[in-house]
Symmetry: C2
Subunit: 244 residues, 2 copies
C-alpha cells in the first residue's frame, strides 16, 4: 500500500463550500493533520487518526505529515479556505527542501474556497476587477515590506484583500495600515469588514475609509478595500469591470 | 412563488470542484443563464430552461436574468471559476444601477474555485505569499493601465496571476507584458503557464522568464509569475511564507 499526502482546503466554514474532491479524499484518508480548529471540522470515524496541533508549528506539522506519507499512510493536511493562500501548502513544499526522499511522494494540493472570495461574494463583487491579496501579519515579514506593498497596491489602483488584519497581541499594525490607506486612497474609499464569512457569526460591514476604525477587524475578519471605482448599489458593493 | 437570482461559480472544469452549494442551487433553478460553454456544463432536466448566450454580452445577459427573477423565476447565472473574479457578478451589480425595482430582489453570489487557485494547486504553491491578480485583456481597460499595474506589482514583489493573457485577435498585449516583466523582474524569475486546469487537457509548464515566449499562453491559460523568492522544489514551484 503506497502512501500519499493531500493538502486540502476546507473552505471558509460552511460545509456546503467544501468541494466533493476534498470530501472524497478525506473519506480515503488514514490520518488528518492540521491546526486544532480545522481538524475539528473533520468527522471522526474508525480507521481515521486525527492529529490536531497548535498554531505556528507549520513546518513541524508538514514534516510529520510527510513522514507518515513516506511510511505508507494516506495523509490529508487540512487548512481552512484554500491551502495555497497563506496556509499549509507552502509549508509542505518548504519541508521538502533538502529531502529528495520525500520529493518523490504522491503529493497533491486540493484547492478550496479562500476567505476573500467568500467575503467578496457575501458583500457583492468588490474583487471583480484587478486586485491584490496581502497578509497583514508581521510574523513572517517586516512592517516595511507591508507598507511598501500597500503603497504600490494603492498606486496601481488594485482592490485589496487583507488576511490576518489584526492580531490580539500586535494590533497596532492594522492601525498603521489604515493610516497608509487613508493617505494613499483618501477618506471616501470603500472598505468592507467581513467577519466569520459563511458561518452563523457572519457579519459584513462596509464603510468609507474615513469612518473605519481598527476595532472593526480581528483575526476572523477579511478586509477588502475597493479600488477608485468601487461603488455601492442597493445593499451591495462592487467593482465595475471597466476602466474608462 | 417569489423569484431569486444566484450568480454561481462552476469552478475551473472538473465537476469535483463544484461546491455542494452550487449543485443544490442548480437543482432548484427554473432557468440557467450564461456564456455557451458554461451553460453546456449544466445537465438538462424537465422544468429547467437553459439560456446560453455568446461572449461579450454580459450586461444584456445580466438584465435578462434579473428580469426573469423579477417575474418570479429561480434563475442561476453561471460563470466558470468564481463569479466574482473577472466574471458575471460585477455585470449583474452593474445592471442594478438605476433599477431600484431590481435592487430589492433576492440576489446571492455563490463562490467557486477560481482558475488561478486551481492552477496554483496544480503547480505547487506559487501564490502562497502576497500576490495580485490582473486581467490582461485590454477589452475593458487601456494598455497603459495594465502596464502601470505590472510595474507596481513587480516593485511590490507580488507574485502575479494573469487571466485572459493572450487573445487570438490581439496577441501583441502579452508580448508587451512579457517585455515589461523581464525588465522589472529579470530573466531568471519563474513563470508558470497553466492551461485548461483540472480538465483532461491540463498542461502545466514552468520556465524562467527569459525562456518564456508569447505562444506559451492562450485564452485557456492562467499565467502565474512568482515573486523574487519563488523557487522550485522537486516537480513543484512554491513561494516561501516568509520574507527574511
Amino acid at each position: 500500500m503506497s502512501g500519499w499526502l493531500a493538502i486540502a482546503g476546507l473552505g471558509p466554514g460552511d460545509d456546503r463550500l467544501v468541494t466533493p474532491e476534498v470530501t472524497a479524499t478525506l473519506a480515503e484518508a488514514t490520518d488528518v493533520v492540521g491546526y486544532i480548529p480545522y481538524v475539528a471540522r473533520v468527522a471522526p470515524r474508525p480507521g481515521l487518526t486525527l492529529h490536531p496541533s497548535d498554531n505556528r508549528v507549520e513546518l513541524d506539522r508538514a514534516r510529520a505529515a510527510l513522514q507518515m506519507a513516506a511510511e505508507g499512510k494516506r495523509v490529508v493536511v487540512v487548512s481552512s479556505g484554500d491551502p495555497g493562500v497563506f496556509a499549509m501548502a507552502s509549508a509542505v513544499f518548504e519541508a521538502l527542501e533538502g529531502r529528495p526522499d520525500w520529493q518523490t511522494l504522491d503529493i497533491r494540493v486540493l484547492p478550496g474556497i479562500t476567505a476573500m472570495l467568500a467575503a467578496a461574494a457575501a458583500s457583492g463583487a468588490p474583487l471583480g476587477h484587478d486586485f491584490c491579496c496581502i497578509n497583514l501579519s508581521d510574523n513572517l515579514k517586516p512592517w516595511e515590506v507591508i507598507e511598501t506593498r500597500l503603497r504600490h497596491a494603492a498606486r496601481a489602483d488594485f482592490a485589496m484583500a487583507f488576511y490576518n488584519p489584526r492580531s490580539a497581541s500586535r494590533p497596532e499594525g492594522f492601525t498603521k495600515a489604515l493610516a497608509v490607506l487613508r493617505e494613499e486612497c483618501g477618506e471616501g474609499r470603500l472598505i468592507t469588514f467581513a467577519r466569520a464569512v459563511s458561518t452563523p457569526d457572519q457579519r459584513i460591514v462596509t464603510v468609507a475609509l474615513g469612518e473605519a476604525t481598527p476595532e472593526m477587524a480581528d483575526m476572523r475578519t477579511v478586509v477588502i478595500v475597493g479600488n477608485s471605482a468601487t461603488r455601492r448599489v442597493g445593499r451591495w458593493v462592487y467593482s465595475p469591470r471597466s476602466v474608462r
